[in-house]
Amino acid sequence: MLAAARELAPFPGGPVALYKNNVDGKGASYGCHENFLVRRDVPFAELAQLLMPFLVTRQVFAGAGRVGLGQTGADAGFQLAQRSDYIEAEIGLETTLRRPIVNTRDEPHADRQRWRRLHLIIGDANLLEVATYLKLGTTSLVLGLIERRDELPAAYARLAALRLADPVGDVQRVSHDPTLTTTLRLADGRELTALEIQRTYLDAAREAVDALAAGAGPDDETRAVVDRWARVLHGLEHDRASVAGQVEWVAKLRILDGLRRRDGLDWDHPRLAATDLQWSDVRPERGIYHRLLAKDAVERVVTEQEVARAVHHPPDDTRAYFRGEVMARYGEHVSAASWDSIIFDVPGAPSLQRVPMPDPERGTRGHLGDLLDRSADASALLAGLSGT
């Protein structure tokens, strides 16, 4: 995106500045949509119910921070998340009005009998890499718990008991409380803080990891997410400064509080709103996040080399590997490629040939890497595929 913006600079209308944020402070909001593949045999109502308290409170470590309260920022102040004031429903299909905590869009781009797509629009577009990592990692973990609820009755019971009395109002309650002390009322009458609710999910995830360790066991990635989740929740509760390089709203608030202290600014001062916007400018020389990155004030999860490689190379442990390699190696003989199929147009063949990819976990390097390496052209690949 940065490279594209730079290329536009010399043209009429340029230069272009890009901001990775979610609000303009005038009432408009634009999303950072997340999509998760979830087993179809989980009833949607149950999925939404078990996930909702998690999504309402996830912003304590996933919020990008925002200057201004209310959709138009009418009231002065700071809140944890950019999107929270725009969430107005529990469950729904819409994405630009009456935005829901759990969205019902369901195009799995895979075998519909086996999977559904869970589409979430509640999250912020994070710049801090740890925030993105935790947001996606913990959500995936919780979904894994829900999928295995029959094997994990204790974890299931913990989550089922967390039903909130007012989930939509709670999204704003949590976001508007940087002290993290506000309590949320549960349907059973209990009052819990956002951190206590997150800790309940964490404990359930830990139990599940231990229970599953008896069998094939959780992978290293799962353990790493659980460990980081635990450390960040602990830091938020006991030593806020210790997570300033990992939690975006804490990093942003640290800078804003510094400006307020040094220059004696009230929360309605335009310099604080400008700092919030400029935080997300993707240009390294202009973006405030990027200034912190250059000063090693925020943690990284991936290296520059890994990012550069990922621009042109798909991950090798999903069907994206097969699709990417086919385009790179035999692109001139591909007439169409989509999420779940590739259509080949091979010279001399009587018709177009379609290769379906309904299973996202097939087409990995482990599965097809050797065949790709052995296939000098698209014909050889198709012959090899029909033999597998």
């Binding site: 901001y19 609000v23 303009d24 402070g25 005038k26 408009a28 909001s29 634009y30 999303g31 949509h33 994405t95 630009t96 629009i121 806020r240 400064a241 640290r254 800078i255 509080d257 510094g258 400006l259 307020r260 202290r261 040094r262 220059d263 004696g264 600014l265 009230d266 929360w267 001062h269 335009p270 310099r271 709103a273 400008a274 700092t275 916007l277 400029q278 020389e285 202009r286 405030i288 200034r291 912190l292 000063k295 004030a297």
Partner: protein, 65 residues
């Protein structure tokens, strides 16, 4: 360089609070963090938009989900 000097100049002119303005109570800073934050603020001063009010007013989104 000229640009950078201008921005710093504008910041001082605009934003040093008047003596008779009511200052915000300074936020409590974690001990030992002040020096680190101040160093970051110095760096950020060099890149912050010179006219914050105009910049914020001009930031308007059309469309999007």
């Amino acid at each position: 360089m000229a640009d950078r000097e201008q921005q710093q100049h504008v910041r001082r002119e605009d934003d040093v609070p008047d003596d008779d303005a009511t200052p915000t109570p300074p936020p409590a800073a974690p001990q030992g963090q002040d020096a680190d934050v101040d160093a970051l603020l110095d760096d950020i001063d060099d890149v912050l938009e010179a006219n914050a009010e105009q910049f914020v007013r001009g930031f308007v989104q059309k469309g999007g989900q």
